[in-house]
């Protein structure tokens, strides 16, 4: 599904050249839920942004379904991008639009053969009652679920998540992870999640790449059986952690 070959990317500023990605190779299969783990500055977000060409590599090829995105014209690229959904750390909702208008936004940019309906996708993320609200009236977790609904409404073949839970507290994180997991099961798209939060990858992904200093150090298979822990309410967990000695 995704084939990254020999990707190198340098960010230049006046002071220094930062090597963000150093000859990275990566293959991700169709239908896989793939995690990219690393500390901040490891290059994981840059890697993710290569997959939909928000960032262009200095060298190397980015293939999605056999198409090398680096060689496409702008118009051809937009046709590929319309099939790739993206979820952002800061949600990136339009604050002047209602939840409904935010979610429908991608459908106003392109024609889609078989999109989900607004009501279905809002029900799917559990926000049917917030249809006419503005983002400012929502909690962080709700905003991110709107972001996910906006990505899902087009039935993307590929869903990219850039630190989807990093702006959220732990309980909300679990709520968002649960929605992503459900989306993966129901719509069978390929998911790539970039995060520094290990539990997110543990509960969502089949495989994960560990990144450091612009390179992939290792790719691990995730053992899911031990990860099915129950979600405890915040206060219970706080009591556990704080009273623990």
């Amino acid at each position: 599904m995704i084939e990254l070959r020999d990707i190198t990317k340098t960010f230049s500023s006046r002071q220094e050249n930062l090597l963000a990605l150093n000859a990275v190779d990566l293959s991700i299969d169709t239908g896989e839920a793939f995690g990219v783990i690393g500390e901040s500055g490891a290059g994981k977000s840059t890697l993710l942004r290569m997959v939909n060409m928000l960032e262009r590599p200095d060298s190397g090829t980015v293939k999605v379904d056999q198409t090398d995105l680096t060689t496409l014209s702008k118009k051809e690229l937009r046709q590929e991008q319309k099939q790739i959904g993206m979820v952002f750390q800061q949600f990136n909702l339009l604050n002047n639009l209602t939840v409904a208008d935010n979610v429908k936004l991608p459908l106003t940019l392109h024609d889609y053969a078989d999109p989900l309906t607004l009501d279905d996708v809002l029900a799917f993320v559990g926000l049917s009652d917030k249809k006419h609200s503005y983002p400012q009236e929502l909690s962080g977790g709700q905003k991110q679920r709107v972001g996910i609904a906006r990505a899902l409404i087009t039935r993307p073949k590929l869903l990219l998540c850039d630190e989807p839970t990093s702006a959220l507290d732990q309980n909300t994180t679990e709520e968002v992870v649960a929605v992503l997991k459900k989306a993966h099961q129901e719509f069978k798209m390929t998911i790539v999640v970039v995060t520094h939060e290990l539990p997110v990858v543990k509960s969502l992904c089949n495989r994960a790449a560990l990144m450091e200093a612009g390179e992939i150090r290792q790719i691990v298979k995730i053992n899911r059986s031990s990860s099915e822990k129950t979600i405890k309410p915040y206060l219970d967990r706080a009591r556990e952690v704080l009273a623990d000695d």
Partner: protein, 228 residues
């Protein structure tokens, strides 16, 4: 003590036709300036934003040219701009003096340059993530501008427009030098030059009320549009 009042009212009634006429002239000049700000200032400001380094239509040459033009117009002392444009206005309009439409040409030029800067500033306030989101969805630049940037910047665009219009009122008071008329010209000619101080202050109070009205309308609309 109140003896001056009937005198003043009588003079006011005498001057009212002239006063209304000059308000009408101001209205004409403001009308053309506002139309130009929206139809041309908005696109120029958007291009200033979009062609800057690191933006979707980054183009150093185009950005430099637009910047130099806008700066040149804005740094031109307005009175000299009015005079410098006389030959041009005479060419395209037939006459350069003595009517508010001829006087609108320099107003249009300053309106475009001034509002373009306000638009650029408003767009800079939109978080970068919004542009990225549009690009990740495969939006064209036109879609990015109309469906993302203008939507998020709309209340700021309205506030900038309000500030611009208030500057237009101020600029319009100069147009008396080429016979463009207007309420400012009225205050100077009848009030200052003929020592009719009460009439001068009447005109000035009218200008203040006009500005208050624009400010109030602008803020009200901006607040209504702002859901952030």
């Amino acid at each position: 003590m109140t003896e001056w009042l009937p005198v003043y009212l009588e003079r006011l009634v005498d001057f009212t036709p002239r006063l209304l006429e000059s308000l009408w002239e101001t209205g004409i000049m403001l009308f053309f300036a506002m139309i130009a700000a929206v139809l041309l200032g908005l696109p120029v400001g958007t291009l200033l934003y979009m062609t800057a380094d690191g933006r979707p239509m980054a183009n150093r040459l185009a950005n430099r040219i637009l910047n130099v033009l806008v700066n040149a117009i804005r740094s031109f002392p307005f009175l000299l701009l009015v005079i410098a444009m006389q030959p041009f206005i005479r060419q395209v309009y037939g006459r350069a003096t003595g009517d508010p439409i001829a006087a609108s040409f320099p107003m249009v030029v300053i309106a475009i340059a001034l509002y373009a800067r306000f638009v650029e500033q408003s767009l800079m306030e939109v978080p970068k993530g919004i542009t990225e989101t549009a690009q990740s969805m495969g939006a064209t630049n036109r879609q990015l501008v109309f469906k993302f940037l203008y939507v998020e910047a709309r209340s700021s665009l309205v506030i900038g427009f309000t500030t611009a219009v208030i500057s237009f009122v101020s600029y319009s008071t100069i147009m008396g030098v080429v016979g463009g008329g207007g309420i400012g010209d009225f205050a100077i000619r009848f009030g200052y030059q003929r020592f009719e101080t009460d009439i001068m202050y009447t005109a000035i109070v009218l200008i203040i009320l006009l500005v208050e009205l624009f400010q109030w309308l602008g803020l009200k609309l901006a607040r209504k549009l702002d859901k952030r």
